[in-house]
């Protein structure tokens, strides 16, 4: 943020924050889920801009790639798989909508009270240098003896992604691996839950033990839906 002077970040925050809140309200208010998904996309992009203001460039990039690129495409695929127009016309709102809005307003008032009484209004008291700077070591010639090499360290500015990577691959290596395992389990689970039943042609080409298992699953589903 060094290039931006004066109140520029505050102005960007005002505009983008208003846009984020407005589009998040439209996510809830829109009747068509495709419109909801597109407004959710707008909200995610606005939040990515807010991350950049707070010196989190790498997280902003991840936000755009994973949320706006991955999760939103998944949502849109599902909205298009489910033939929404063939569903019976029904009320969008739940019968408890008044209570829901009441809960939302009270949660908001709670947050507002907590923030207002807290000590968060002043500007950041600490420098942000640790967020964007990495210390790297390099090898150079000895100043007096040219035949020797010495190891020095220096600070590199504007290296947010590198700093996050250093934290992720050293202090948080175990959580990182657990997260990758979690993603594998989620992927396998999504495939198992979402798979469809076989057609007649596929049944002929399928080994017997798989068919027996599919029959069992069909029985379970009939019992479930009965």
């Amino acid at each position: 943020m060094d290039g931006l002077t004066g109140n520029m970040p505050l102005l960007v925050f005002m505009v983008i924050g208003t846009l984020a809140v407005a589009s998040s309200i439209l996510v809830v208010a829109m009747r068509n889920p495709v419109h909801s998904a597109l407004f959710l996309l707008l909200t995610f992009l606005c939040v990515a801009v807010l991350f950049v203001i707070k010196a989190a460039e790498f997280v902003a990039a991840v936000q755009v790639l994973v949320y706006a690129g991955g999760i939103m495409v998944l949502f849109l695929f599902v909205v298009m798989l489910i033939n929404y127009r063939h569903l019976p016309e029904e009320r969008v709102m739940s019968p408890v909508w008044l209570g829901g809005i009441l809960v939302g307003v009270s949660i908001f008032v709670l947050f507002a009270t907590l923030v207002r009484t807290g000590a968060y209004h002043d500007e950041a008291p600490t420098p942000v240098k640790t967020l964007t700077t990495v210390r790297e070591s390099y090898i150079t010639e000895h100043p007096s003896d040219p035949s020797k090499l010495v190891r020095r360290t220096r600070d590199r500015e504007n290296r947010n992604a590198e700093a996050v990577a250093m934290a992720l691959y050293t202090d948080y290596l175990v959580p990182f691996e657990v997260a990758s395992l979690f993603l594998l389990v989620a992927m396998v689970g999504a495939i198992v839950i979402g798979k469809r039943e076989l057609s007649a042609e596929e049944e002929e080409a399928t080994p017997n033990f798989i068919l027996e298992r599919a029959e069992e699953e069909k029985d379970v589903k009939e019992i479930m839906s009965a």
């Binding site: 996510v27 809830v28 939040v47 209570g99 949660i107 967020l131």
Partner: protein, 100 residues
């Protein structure tokens, strides 16, 4: 530079909007979108405090939250598709086999 309090207020607003959506909406896909909205509001908090405390851990945790959100969306959408195949509906009020 916007203060931490401004970020906390924005994140509280987004969280409240997402909570209202989870309670009020009956379309299961929209409910899942509102859950994503709430997770994102938490991310804003983490980033704001990461900046305020000049500590990278907030950003690392945000990456983990994004990762969990991706897995949750994948499994949730698979459940929605399977419910649509079984019941031909994506209304949360009609999925009450477990009497929830």
């Amino acid at each position: 530079m916007p203060s931490t309090a401004a970020y906390l207020m924005l994140s509280g607003t987004l969280f409240a909007v997402g909570l209202v959506g989870v309670i009020v909406r009956r379309n299961m896909i929209t409910v899942l979108m509102c859950i994503e909205l709430m997770l994102n509001a938490v991310n804003i908090n983490l980033i704001a405090f990461s900046y305020r405390l000049a500590n990278l851990e907030g950003q690392v945790f945000t990456i983990f939250v994004i990762c969990i959100a991706a897995g949750e969306a994948a499994v949730g959408l698979a459940i929605i598709i399977q419910l649509y195949r079984l019941r031909s509906t994506i209304n949360v009020d009609e999925a009450r086999t477990l009497h929830g």
